[in-house]
């Protein structure tokens, strides 16, 4: 095992440490709130059902036993860590008897499908737009096309989402109003279903992409302008290189480095979904589930989602640490 292997192992141990620390905090915080999720759920059901007010305490006890909430704290904690190691996130209270894994996995697919695609697309388009905007030798008219486009990024996503719903879906009726697929259909692998899913994804995607493009473009433009002042850019010109080579190999290649850091961090957070946008479109993603879980005090689902978020961010950081040296030779691991 060389220096590189050593480095990766070290970064991985750090990754495990971060996950453990964050999970422990997640374990402690709900227990400090003093709420009893089981009892609350039962009370809610009782109110809905009307009559059944007696025997609630007994029922709560039996459910608590079932969820292991009657055990001493340290037993609960060790059980929690054991389950976490097996990536078993427990059972949902609100959607009992579905497991949290099941719920999180299903909504994660929707979120990753939408957010993953949209984030990468916005990164590529935004970075490209920023690179061109920050290039002194661009055609002059580009300024007048890109700049107004970027002002769109100042509109909050949920507002843009509502405008899109109102105009495109409600007034014009071109695209569906809400959901991840038409309510009458069952998810399957057919071509029709795929088209249906795509049609449902277009508006949420646009709502997110517009603001994200501006974010990436403005960052990239700033970096490109910084790069212009570097000595190696003057030297590239003095070497009589072709404009295209200076643009790609000298300017963009160097300006891209902080963008990639940003992308890795954003990719880590896409598992959180876009709570507001998903809510507005009733998109069955993880953000929507998180919203419902909070409303229903479903501690186990909340905890499960937060753990997925932790894994996502810590995982992305770990990957960035391992891959970044490939992009920037100055960060390359050295024998020290």
């Amino acid at each position: 095992m060389g220096v590189l292997g050593h480095f990766i192992v070290k970064r991985f141990l750090f990754f495990l440490f971060v996950v453990w620390l964050a999970s422990t905090i997640i374990f402690i915080i709900p227990r400090l709130s003093g709420q009893d999720p089981v009892k609350e759920k039962l009370l809610l059901e009782a109110q809905r059902g009307g009559a059944m007010q007696t025997g609630l305490d007994a029922m709560a006890k039996s459910y608590q036993k079932r969820f292991g909430l009657d055990q001493p704290m340290w037993v609960q904690y060790t059980n929690f860590l054991k389950d976490l190691a097996k990536l078993n996130l427990g059972v949902s209270i609100a959607f009992f008897p579905r497991t949290v894994n099941d719920i999180v996995f299903e909504s994660l697919m929707w979120t990753l499908g939408l957010m993953g695609t949209v984030t990468l697309l916005a990164f590529v388009l935004g970075t490209l737009a920023g690179a061109i905007l920050g290039w002194p030798r661009k055609p002059g008219w580009l300024q007048y096309v890109f700049m107004p486009l970027l002002t769109l990024s100042a509109i909050p996503q949920y507002l843009l989402a509502m405008i899109l719903i109102f105009v495109v879906a409600f007034k014009l009726g071109w695209l569906p109003l809400f959901g991840g697929y038409s309510p009458a259909t069952l998810p399957n692998m057919s071509f029709e279903f795929a088209i249906d899913v795509l049609r449902h994804a277009i508006l949420p995607a646009f709502a997110i992409i517009f603001s994200a493009i501006g974010f990436w473009a403005i960052g990239m433009r700033g970096m490109m302008i910084n790069t212009q002042g570097e000595d190696y850019m003057i030297q590239a010109d003095a070497k009589g290189l072709k404009g295209s080579r200076i643009f790609m190999r000298y300017a963009v290649r160097n300006a891209l480095l902080p963008q990639v850091t940003g992308l890795a961090l954003v990719l880590g957070t896409i598992v959180t979904g876009q709570v507001l946008v998903e809510r507005v479109f009733s998109y069955p993603g993880i953000g929507d589930i998180l919203f419902q879980a909070i409303r229903l005090s479903d501690f186990f689902v909340i905890r499960g989602i937060v753990i997925v978020i932790i894994l996502g961010i810590a995982g992305a950081t770990f990957l960035l640490d391992v891959l970044y040296p490939l992009l920037d030779p100055r960060i390359r691991v050295r024998n020290s």
């Binding site: 190696y232 030297q235 190999r249 290649r253 160097n254 030779p329 100055r330």
Partner: protein, 354 residues
Amino acid sequence: MVQPTIEETRLSTEQAIQTYRADARITDVDALVVENFSVYYETDSGTVKACDDVTFTLKQGERFALVGESGSGKTTLAMGLMRLTRPPGHIAKGSVTLNGRDVTKLSENEMRKTRLSELALVPQGAMNSLNPVMRIERQIVDGFLDHRSEDDKALSKDELKEFVRDLLIRVGLRPGVARLYPHELSGGMKQRVAMAIGISLRPNLIIADEPTSALDVVVQRQIMQTLGRLQEGLDASIMLVGHDMGLVAQFADTIGVMYAGKLVEVGPVEEVFSDPKHPYTKLLIRSLPSLQEKREFLGIPGLPPRLINLPNSCAFADRCPSRFDKCDQSVPQTLNLGGRRETACHLYEGEGQS
């Protein structure tokens, strides 16, 4: 008293003049003719004449050194000659004839091809002049690749490797440096790489813009020797931009002194050092420390003027010990004092011809 040996330290100015290179192969062919060349910066508070009406000629094989204090327009002139002036700067007037062609009239693409192949820059502070994310070999090769014409046959990988290897050896680096990144090199090595790039297409004119700033004196000397050797190998001319008079005295054949954007004195190094004409040059040379005699350090009192809205007078008048009425009435014109000696000073109006 133990005298430092030449290898240990730079030569003193006096020694340098004595070791003036007698074997210089200066031909009578004009390599570069600069006439009334002016680079102005347009700012909100007015036009900054950073380089104004500069005229000089560089022969093939000649080493021309441009000296002057910071802000005197040396680098502006050097960048202007390569047409690398960036906005708000622009070339206001004048012509630059390189190998018989006026480069100020070339199209952008022709100018691009002229750079490196005929006119190469060895930049100041090679520290940051290399792309940090590219291996050295790529940075040497890409200039070559972008100057190939379409009917040139493509070189194989091995031939390109050989090309890089040969250049690195010529500048005194081991061939293994090709595979390294800039941050893995020392300052002196980076400067050598910059020279390797500069000579890669065998240019006739090398502009070396303070190639030894930020290097210690021992490395400075080695770098200058290498640069000189390379120039002789190519039979090229060199325009050395710097403010280190000792270095210039050792290296150059001809010296040009800039002050406030103007070339105030031009002449062969040994003549200018032994008999400076312009009062600024006189003070400049007097301010050099000497190894032979012990005396107080002397400076030039005052500061250079701002280059915006210069009045119709000599820019050096306020600091000049020989100031007289005429200095405040008109801008001195460049006078030829015989041979290759020129100066722009009212004191000599009786002797020279403009």
